[in-house]
């Protein structure tokens, strides 16, 4: 298969089942909401080293509970317990600390984790609970409880419980380019398109990862190491997967609330990336043995 002269490898991306949550951060201005969101999304590129994958969602929230500017952040982790720990730590250390911020659940799900209900103890007994009916919040669901925690600029509002549901982590594709500059531009085009898809995040810096990894290492203490088969500088030293003419490889990893959202993000991303300087687009998998979600590139791109 070829798109705009770019060869699409007949392979698939192997993704994993993860748990997902989504929080809505508001503040007095978009800039401060974004500061809090960026802080919360820091050091959250990969579960391998960060314990979770977290990033700002590309689509801006249409409405917020307090009518202030808001930013949506999605967090993925391997278990509900990990989600709860990460949310408590990140909201407590990164959002509550940001001036004027408030933090709301933004995922309607059957399973809900106590987050504000734990953070409330920061109020040292002066925290105040407010439980509002769905008619007040206008969301059509049941009542929601919020905690007002006294802080030095007034109050930090945090929702008592946050929804968690099964999601998909590790959807990916690889951009094999003739040289770095053109490959990076292709990646940027892909990310711009993917950010318009609802319910997905690309957790690496700017959505792009250059240090793709393989399972295992020659060192016993390391369970993941550089994807040597895709490193141009090792073309002559290891069994390389790089075709002739490829001088740089970048990977885009995508996590989503549903397999459909991940597939759609991959589809629009690959289509946007196909352009000058890109030789081939491939995807990472582990022979189908590890992840339960398989995204076949040809199948995705044949849709619509």
């Amino acid at each position: 298969m070829e798109i705009n002269g770019v060869c699409i490898d007949e392979t698939y991306a192997e993704a994993f089942g993860m748990y997902a949550s989504r929080v809505l951060i508001t503040a007095c201005s978009k800039a401060w909401a974004m500061e809090a969101a960026r802080s919360m999304a820091g050091f959250g590129t990969s579960v391998i080293g960060c314990g979770c994958e977290v990033a700002i969602e590309g689509i801006e929230p249409a409405e917020t509970p307090d009518d202030r500017p808001g930013v949506s952040v999605m967090l993925f982790a391997p278990s509900k317990k990990a989600i709860q720990e990460q949310l408590i730590n990140r909201i407590g250390q990164c959002v509550m600390t940001a001036p004027t911020s408030a933090c709301y659940n933004d995922l309607e799900a059957e399973d809900r984790l106590s987050i504000g209900g734990k953070l409330k103890f920061f109020g040292d007994g002066f925290q105040i609970s407010k439980r509002f009916e769905s008619r007040i919040l206008g969301n059509g669901s049941g009542p929601r409880r919020f905690w007002r925690i006294p802080v030095m600029d007034g109050e930090f509002i945090v929702e008592d419980r946050f929804g968690v549901q099964k999601g998909v982590g590790g959807g990916n594709f690889l951009l094999l380019g003739s040289e770095l500059s053109a490959t990076l531009q292709a990646a940027e085009r892909a990310i711009e398109a993917m950010r318009k898809v609802q319910g997905v995040i690309m957790p690496f810096p700017g959505g792009v990862v250059r240090s793709g990894s393989k399972v295992g290492s020659r060192y016993k203490f390391l369970n993941a190491s550089s994807n040597t088969a895709f490193c141009p500088s090792l073309r002559g030293a290891v069994k390389s997967d790089l075709p002739d003419g490829v001088g740089a490889v970048l990977e885009i990893v995508v996590d989503g609330l549903t397999p459909e959202a991940v597939g759609e993000a991959m589809r629009v991303g690959i289509r946007a990336a196909c352009g000058p300087g890109v030789v081939k687009i491939s995807a990472g998998n582990y022979g189908g043995k590890l992840g339960k979600h398989h995204f076949y590139l040809h199948q995705l791109l044949a849709e619509r």
Partner: protein, 269 residues
């Protein structure tokens, strides 16, 4: 299903009519004849609902009451679903113990409106009298959920012993607003009487006009609490837009220090 329309025929004079049977939960599975045969009490006598109301419609969880029902007590008491629309006044105890659904009253409501309710919405376009959303004498808690909106004025002890939920009043309130509150939110657009929040343990009373406070309330600060934005936004969506901006300053006082002292009165600055 079209609503069941109850048209008041015979107006009780000195003795009020006790009509707990006027509830969507009870009407939804009954035919017109069964609705007419439902019991109502006039003093120590039991009558049929059809003796006082002309009934039109059946098997619906929406009820429309026409005529003067100002002496009819317990309308919608304990209801969990549906809607009651009253084109006129209602008597005492309307919506008491209510757990869901809506009661919309075009006229005025008598005492004990929404007392000890746990959910649902009551909207009064006129005035409501004493102990709206409060507790019955001897009960530990008043309203424990739901929303009461009053476009007019309210009487004494509104929200007394309230534990959860929201009461919003466009007009004025008489004395002891939110007395002995243990939680919940009261939002008063008009003028409050004396001893507002007397004995309150927790909870929030928002007064958009200056109010004379008990000496057991202490000033904290002037600020713009974010949760008020949520309340004001919700009230606006319910057609009761506050006359001050949601991001305006309020003066926060906490009390009542004669009790636990974790309640708050927020007064628009």
């Amino acid at each position: 299903m079209p609503p069941v329309v109850l048209h008041m025929q015979e107006i009780p004079t000195n003795i009020p009519l006790e009509a707990e049977s006027i509830s969507p939960d009870l009407f939804v599975e009954r035919s017109q004849a069964e609705i007419e045969a439902m019991p109502v009490a006039l003093g120590n006598e039991t009558h049929r609902l059809g003796d006082f109301f002309k009934v039109k419609g059946e098997r619906s969880d929406e009820i429309v009451i026409e005529g003067c029902a100002g002496r009819v007590k317990w309308i919608g008491s304990g209801m969990t679903r549906g809607r009651i629309v009253v084109h006129g006044d209602v008597g005492m105890h309307a919506g008491s113990y209510m757990r869901g659904g809506e009661i919309l009253i075009d006229g005025n409501a008598d005492d004990f409106l929404g007392v000890e309710m746990q959910g649902g919405l009551i909207r009064v376009k006129g005035n409501a009298r004493h102990r709206v959303g409060a507790a019955y004498r001897g009960s530990k808690y008043g309203m424990q959920g739901g929303i009461i909106l009053v476009d007019g004025n309210v009487g004494h002890e509104v929200g007394a012993y309230m534990r959860r939920g929201l009461i919003a009043i466009k007009g004025n309130a008489e004395d002891f607003l939110g007395a002995m509150m243990t939680n919940g939110t009261i939002c008063l657009f008009g003028q409050a009487g004396i001893r507002t929040g007397g004995g309150m343990q927790k909870g929030t009373i928002v007064c958009l006009r200056p109010v004379e406070l008990l000496p057991t309330f202490v000033y904290d600060c002037s600020y713009s609490p974010v949760f008020l934005r949520m309340v004001f936004k919700g009230l606006k969506q319910l057609g009761m837009e506050p006359p001050v901006p949601a991001n305006g300053l309020v003066r926060r006082y906490h009390g009542d220090l004669a009790d636990v002292g974790k309640g708050e009165i927020l007064i628009a600055a």
